[in-house]
Every structure is written in C-alpha cells, then in structure tokens.
C-alpha cells in the first residue's frame, strides 16, 4: 500500500513518486500521513517535509504552500522546494547566518517581516540537510 505523492512548485515538479509515509509541517502542527488517510486539505507552513520510501527517510525543504490529501493521493503545492540531497550544507549554513544578521539589523515593520521570512526559510534548508536517514 503506497501513497502517490506529487510536490509541485511554480516552475517545476520537485517530486512525483510512490511513498510509504509522509510527515508534513502545517500551521497547526505536524501531520503524519499513512495510506488510507481521510481526505483533508491543509495549509503547509515553511518547514521540513519528511518522506519515507522503503525505510529510508528523505527530507524536502518546503517554503509554505497547500496540501490536499485524499484517495491515497497527495498533492502538495509549494512556493519553493528543495530536496535535501540537492542542498549544499555549507551554503545553507552561511545563508542562515546572513539571514540572522539581517534580522538583527532590520528596522521598521516591513524590513522585519521580510527578514523573518528569510530566516525561517534559511532555517528550514539547514534542517533539511540534517535529516536522519
């Protein structure tokens, strides 16, 4: 029994495969999805999506979006996504440090909003690299 998972972003299809289980981060917490899950629609937060294929866990850094689960089919529409194997760990760490520095220097409502978003994204990418496999 497998789930058919489709992760789409505006410019490409990140992932389209059969998986055993996924763990999704939403605004209201993390959801684990197994085959025969009840149909739900949920907003996805900026965070890590963990996928299990044959006892191997894979991480995908998702930058927010929407997920629809039903009939053993999961469609995730993300603003942007990167598979953990495609992320360069050093570059991700540097990006995180730059984002933290930008947040400290941010002044005014607008800059703070932007800096916060950038920080969350950088943090997600670093987490994706450290996923337990």
């Amino acid at each position: 029994m497998t789930l058919k998972l489709c992760v789409l972003t505006p410019n490409r299809i990140i992932l389209d495969s059969e998986v055993k289980e996924i763990i999704l981060s939403t605004n209201s917490g993390q959801i684990g999805v197994l085959p025969n899950h009840a149909p739900i629609a949920t907003a996805v937060d900026i965070g890590l999506l963990r996928i299990r294929l044959n006892d191997q866990w894979l991480g995908v850094a998702l930058m927010g979006g929407f997920a629809r689960i039903g009939n053993d089919e999961i469609i995730i529409l993300g603003n942007d996504g990167e598979i953990s194997t495609d992320i360069n760990p050093q570059e991700a760490q540097e990006a995180l440090e730059i984002a933290e520095a930008t947040l400290r220097k941010a002044k005014g409502k607008r800059q703070v909003i932007e800096a916060n978003l950038a920080l969350r994204r950088a943090r997600t990418r670093v987490e994706a690299v450290n996923v337990i496999s």
Binding site: P39, I75, E114
Partner: protein, 353 residues
Amino acid sequence: MSSTMWATTSAKPTPLSAKASSRRSSLCIVRCSLRDLRDRISSVKNTQKITEAMKLVAAAKVRRAQEAVVSGRPFSEALVDVLFNINEQLDIDIDVPLTRVRPVKKVALVVVTGERGLCGAFNNNIIRKAEQRMEQLKQLGIEYTVVSVGKKGNSYFQRRPYIPVDRLLESASLPTTKDAQAIADDVFSLFVSEEVDKVELLYTKFVSLVKSDPVIHTLLPLSPKGEICDVNGVCVDAAEDELFRLTTKEGKLTVERDTVRTQTTSFSPILQFEQDPVQILDALLPLYLNSQILRALQESLASELAARMSAMSSASDNAVELKKTLSILYNRQRQAKITGEILEIVAGANALA
C-alpha cells in the same frame, strides 16, 4: 569633390551604384586606400558572424523559455483547481490581508525589463509604458513607487533620481522561483504594511515572434476567485490559461497560442479542512501571486529573446548588404589602380620608343 577621381567609371548609374556613388563620395573623404577597404570588409564580416551567432543563441533560448512555461503548467492547473473548489465550498466572504480593497493613495509599479541590450525596442517599449502610467497616476493625484526588475530598467531609474524607486532587483538568465519569491516578498510586505494600496505589474506579453505587447496587470489586491485584472478592470478568469508554444510550420519558427480551459474536478464531499478557511486562503493566495509573477518574468524573457532574434537577424542582413557594397567598391578601386599602372607603363614605353 566626387566626380574627378572617378571619371573612368561608367557614366550611367545603376540603382546600386547610385547608392554606392554617394557612399563613394563620403568614403573618399575618409579613406580611399585599398588596405583600409580590405580591413573594413573583414570587420564587417566578423560583425556579421557575431550577429548571426547571437540570433541562433536567442532562438535556442526561446525554446528553453517555452519549456519553462510548459513545466510550470501542472502547478497552475492544480492551483486553479484547488482555488475553484475552495471558493465553492466557502460561501462566506472571507477577509484575507491580500484581498483587502482599500482606497488607493499609493501604487507600486513592478517594471520588468531585460538584462542586456541589443534587443531592438524591447526595453524602450516597456519603460515608455511605465512612464505613461506614472503620468496617468500623477494626473489622478496618486503617488507611486517603482520596483524595477532587470539591469536595463535599473540603470534607467538610477539615472533619474526624481522617480521614487523602492527596490532594484536583478535576475539570472532563466527566471527561478527564488526570483519570483523575492519580488513577491517585497510586494507582499509593501501591501500588508499598508505602504501601498495597489500593486501593478508591467511586463511584455509574448504575442508572436515578431510582436510583443507591454501590458499592465493588477497584482494586488487579489480577487479570491483567482482572477487576473487588467488596469481597466477587465478580468481574465484564471481557469482559462493561455499558453504559447514554439513550433515549426513549413520549416519556419512560429508561435502558436492556445487557450486551455483547465478542467476543474470536484473535491470529495467529505473533505475536511485542517485549519479554518482564512488560514487556507492565506496559504493559497501567495502561491497564486508567486506563479503570476513567475509567468510574467518568463513571458518577458521570451519577448526579449524574440526581439533579440529579430534585431540580430536584420543586423546580419544589413551586414551582408554592406559587405557586398564595400566589395564592389574595393574591386572598382583595385581595377582602377591596375589600369593606372598599365597606362603608365604603356606611356613610358611609348616615350622611349
């Protein structure tokens, strides 16, 4: 000035040599030596090679740009599907920050230009459209600020400090989600922090390989049905997606535009929403915003490449024409020189004999 040196040439000018004779007179003033003409011919030949190569590169890139648009389709189709269904299931009027309609006091204009020149009138057209819009807004008494994307627009606005500019962004060769995200973040924070009340996107729509249109689309406030609105309030339903496709017809590159009506399937009726409708729409509308911006960037890139293709093609043709003219000139001069030498030798021989 012209006729005395060229007395030996034919009296009756042909159309080509009429052009050539006027060029001859101007060339005469500058340089008449065989070597200079030869150098000039070889430089024109090199230039023609370069412009030909640029045209082929642009043609290859248009194909890539088209593939990028095609690979973005599954996302927009799925998104439109979801938006449509969610709207049907939620009848109550929902107040999401991105759809709030406020009285307009300040407008943000996102202007998409190209990174490089040598593309004909492409950059000029979009900048002129931007100037027209700014004039319109000034007459209505509405303030504006500009977010410029692309090196050409950036340098234009940098040289004019009287235009309020918010941010200057540059993008690499093929627009990625990160570029669209950067613009979306900027626009999002401008709108939500109430610094501006309306955001308009100015980009060049790709009509065909020889025609492109600068258009203005209202980006924010979004309408919850997922419609894209023109400045005049003309709304295009997102369920009708326009696609352009580069194909070959009778051996020539052409572009076909289709309108694809995406089929919206209905959701399972027992579908539960994990969060309340406001949060769901809050997550969906930025996705829509991103995909709109990315589409605009991709179309703008395709228009730029098509403009470059046509500009380089006419440059190549002009170079070939110029080389022909110069070659004729060169040969005429070479023959005149030889004739001169023969005359001298014969005259000398006669004098001795």
